[in-house]
């Protein structure tokens, strides 16, 4: 360890650096306090029962049943994962195992480019292009349904899944694969029996992070989910719904500061905050164990 000359003049700088380094902890702490402080009153103003189990979301009529919103968000996220997880894992397997060396980086960069597109642009494309296509294909009067949001979100979470999955697949020791080949295994057998089991937990972490991103996504979902605050019936994939995030944007503009609606929206934000917080902790725990401190750029 190198010993440095310490000068007393350096002390203020060190303190300034320390304060800057603590900034993210301070911010996160403040955010937790505020989300709880502003959200908790909703539980006695509206009641836990009505808020989480009430099926009527009609804030202008004093009804704050958030169950349709929660179901709407869950439906959209689950549909997204049903499309994006198989797609993302397949793409990752192709990039890490089959693609020739010169093609690996261009393919990865192409997928990463999807992450650079702003969410309002995704919403725009979803609203103007994907929704009409879906409406025409399924013969619906409006294309702003669960499936449309899920397709848009798939494009948004795909980079997260692919980046982390390929990274953990690259980490599978070459010797293990070679040993399997030496035993006479085919390429697919090696993938099935060596690559996938070894990188399983990393893929799980990727899916958890994708879940967190999908449930917190706001603008793209708002523009494509249809914004109907009723309980979906029938074929849920083709029903318009209201996502939690979308409701926050739409009603916050009209909510009186400190009023019941304001508290209810904060309570919903608190739920989102806690879900993403736990998801992040979980994914980090898995990735840290696997990668030992290596950090993926897709995390940020």
């Amino acid at each position: 360890m190198v010993r440095w000359r310490v000068r007393i003049e350096d002390l203020p700088i060190k303190i300034m650096l320390l304060i800057s380094a603590s900034s993210s902890i301070i911010v996160l702490f403040l955010m937790t306090i505020f989300v709880l402080k502003e959200g908790l009153p909703a539980f006695w103003e509206v009641g836990l029962d009505e808020l989480l189990m009430g099926t009527r979301w009609a804030p202008y009529y004093g009804r704050y049943g958030a169950l349709p919103l929660i179901i709407g968000s869950v439906l959209i996220v689950m549909t997204t994962l049903m499309i994006s997880v198989p797609l993302g894992i397949s793409v990752s397997i192709y990039i890490s195992e089959w693609a020739p060396g010169w093609l690996k980086d261009p393919l990865k960069s192409m997928i990463e480019m999807l992450a650079a597109i702003p969410s309002i642009v995704y919403g725009f494309v979803g609203l103007m292009f994907i929704a009409p296509t879906i409406a025409e294909f399924f013969g619906l009067s409006s294309g702003q349904v669960v499936l449309t949001s899920a397709i848009v979100l798939t494009m948004m979470v795909l980079p997260t899944i692919v980046d982390i999955s390929t990274e953990v697949m690259f980490l599978v020791p070459k010797e293990w694969k070679e040993a399997a080949f030496a035993l006479g295994a085919g390429k697919w057998q090696v993938i099935e029996d060596v690559v996938l089991p070894t990188s399983k937990s990393g893929i799980v972490a990727a899916v958890i992070l994708a879940f967190g991103r999908a449930i917190g996504e706001t603008i793209a979902v708002l523009l494509t989910c249809g914004c109907v605050g009723a309980m979906p019936e029938g074929n849920v994939f083709l029903q318009p719904v209201y996502a939690i995030t979308a409701a926050i944007v739409v009603y916050m503009g009209e909510a009186e500061y400190g009023g019941t609606l304001y508290h209810v929206l904060y309570a919903l934000a608190a739920i989102l905050f806690m879900i993403t917080f736990v998801m992040n902790l979980l994914a980090d725990l898995i990735l840290r164990k696997m990668l030992g401190g290596v950090r993926s750029e897709a995390r940020i």
Partner: protein, 277 residues
């Protein structure tokens, strides 16, 4: 089935999803390119009241400029502390690390709500440019810290030892030997942060922008219209507004964000190749 034959089938089976994923990007680009006909000097330089997008372009520029000025020192100082000063793998570093990851994972709408309550209401800044800066700082900070951290860690130990041999103190070493060498990496993270901030909508809806616009803000305490907010307003109001303007705004926004990300990627690739220590 023979393994070789099965491998061939599987190869094709996995090529298809990859093509679909690549096709998604192509589709996005193709759809965006429909806005090209809308782009003209007149469109870029005239006011929104005359069908142009001058104010939103300037608004986006003002927003990320202020955010970068606030985020840059905090982010760089934080990274310097984490890499150069704090003992490796100390408890403090681990907690800060986790906090950065969690902050990066907070949905932007929650950050927007927090910004509205804390900056606009409690600090009394109102819906204003400065409230937007502070809120967006919370989004850019994790990118800034992580990027700078990575850049600092790439600097070889010999740089620090050489500075020390010349009698430099810890801070002089960091300031004169480590930071200049890490500049390209820091610049990359600023550009990536700008790309993120310029494309953000949810965080500024309640904090920086209002529907009724009276031209450009004259002071930081006035609200501002960004490209993202203007596009949002146009989309919510469709079919009352013109599709054409929306296409143009979306393309300009995409172009700006894409440009910053691309420059960042190029800088990073260039210096990784050139500076092999």
């Amino acid at each position: 089935m023979r393994p070789e034959f099965k491998d061939k089938i599987m190869h094709v089976l996995f090529l298809v999803p990859t093509l679909i994923a690549a096709g998604m990007l192509v589709m996005m680009l193709a759809f965006m390119s429909e806005g090209i006909g809308q782009i003209s000097w007149r469109f870029l330089s005239s006011s929104i009241f005359e069908g142009g997008i001058f104010e939103p372009i300037m608004g986006t520029f003002f927003l990320f400029l202020g955010t970068v000025l606030i985020t840059m020192p905090i982010g760089i100082f934080a990274a310097i502390y984490l890499v150069e000063y704090a003992p490796r793998d100390s408890k403090f570093v681990r907690i800060v690390d986790q906090a950065i990851n969690n902050l990066a994972g907070v949905p932007s709408i929650v950050i927007g709500l927090f910004g509205y309550t804390f900056f606009c209401k409690i600090l009394g800044l109102g819906i204003s440019l400065v409230a937007g800066w502070l809120t967006l700082t919370l989004m850019m900070l994790p990118i800034m810290i992580r990027g700078t951290e990575e850049a600092l860690r790439m600097i070889p130990q010999s740089f620090r030892e050489a500075a020390m041999a010349l009698g430099a103190t810890k801070w002089e070493t960091v300031r004169d030997a480590v930071l200049p060498a890490a500049m390209p990496g820091i610049l990359t993270s600023i550009l990536l942060g700008v790309a993120r901030v310029a494309g953000e909508t949810a965080a500024i809806i309640f904090t920086a922008s209002v529907l009724t616009m009276k031209g450009l803000p004259r002071t930081p305490l006035e609200p501002v219209t960004s490209l993202t907010f203007y596009l949002f307003v146009l989309l919510v109001a469709i079919p009352k507004t013109s599709y054409k303007v929306a296409f143009g705004v979306a393309l300009v926004l995409f172009g700006i964000v894409f440009l910053f990300s691309a420059i960042a990627t190029v800088i990073r690739m260039y210096y990784r190749r050139k500076w092999k220590w």
